[in-house]
Amino acid sequence: MEVLERFAAGDPEAFECLFRQHQGEVYRWIIRIVRNSATAEDLTVETFWRMHRARARFDARKGNFCGWMRRIATNTALDHLRRSRREVELPEEMPDTRKPISAEQNEMRQAIFHAIDRLSPTVRATVLLALVEEEPYENIAKALGISTTAVKLRVFRGVRVLRKELSKAGVRP
């Protein structure tokens, strides 16, 4: 029996094998949505916990394990954003965020964080993935379980809100 079939049947060794093989991939996807490494680590474990609970519903014969995994990871990250609607955290790994910035730049950054915080979690994740991470719309659509047109619509709506909020704050994009 293949590892996916064994996983679906509840084999703990198969689950460990899949965990070790895919933990990095899940982490790298989640950190792009939540932008904090400690949170991304916790949510990676949460994602695999959800996968473990839902293993019986996974159809190993269809074999789209990575797509299924990414959908669960995305939903886990979105649930986290819904629970904690706070300011967007900057990734600790980014070296240029540690550079000294001027008061004006800092003000603009705060205005942008505030504007992003006004977006709903799903729109925020879509906007960040599409515009900041430059993830192809098709990949975002698959991860969110929606059509590419719906992704474009969400980005458009998000951009409109951002522009409105930034205008209010006196920032002209």
Binding site: I31, H52, L128, V132, E133, E134, F156, V159
Partner: protein, 73 residues
């Protein structure tokens, strides 16, 4: 909204919030996962248990309050 306006906003966003490029996991998460798997499926905080016990005591001592409790649920 024009393509140029979209690009300007994109540039502004990327300046304030750089893309997260390929961060690697700093540690193996399997020990945390194993711990999570070993946890009981449902964990109720102690105050929930206390509330449940108090409700049970009230029901036992004053059964006539059952309709009132059901009304408030």
């Amino acid at each position: 909204m024009s393509e140029r306006e979209m690009e300007e906003l994109k540039k502004l966003l990327k300046e304030s919030m750089p893309a997260v490029r390929g961060p690697e996991l700093r540690r193996d998460l399997w020990p945390a996962m194993r711990q999570r798997l070993a946890e009981p499926a449902i964990r109720m905080p102690w105050w929930d248990w206390a509330l449940l016990a108090a409700a049970a005591v009230v029901i036992l001592l004053f059964p006539t309050m059952i309709p009132t409790l059901l009304y408030h649920l």
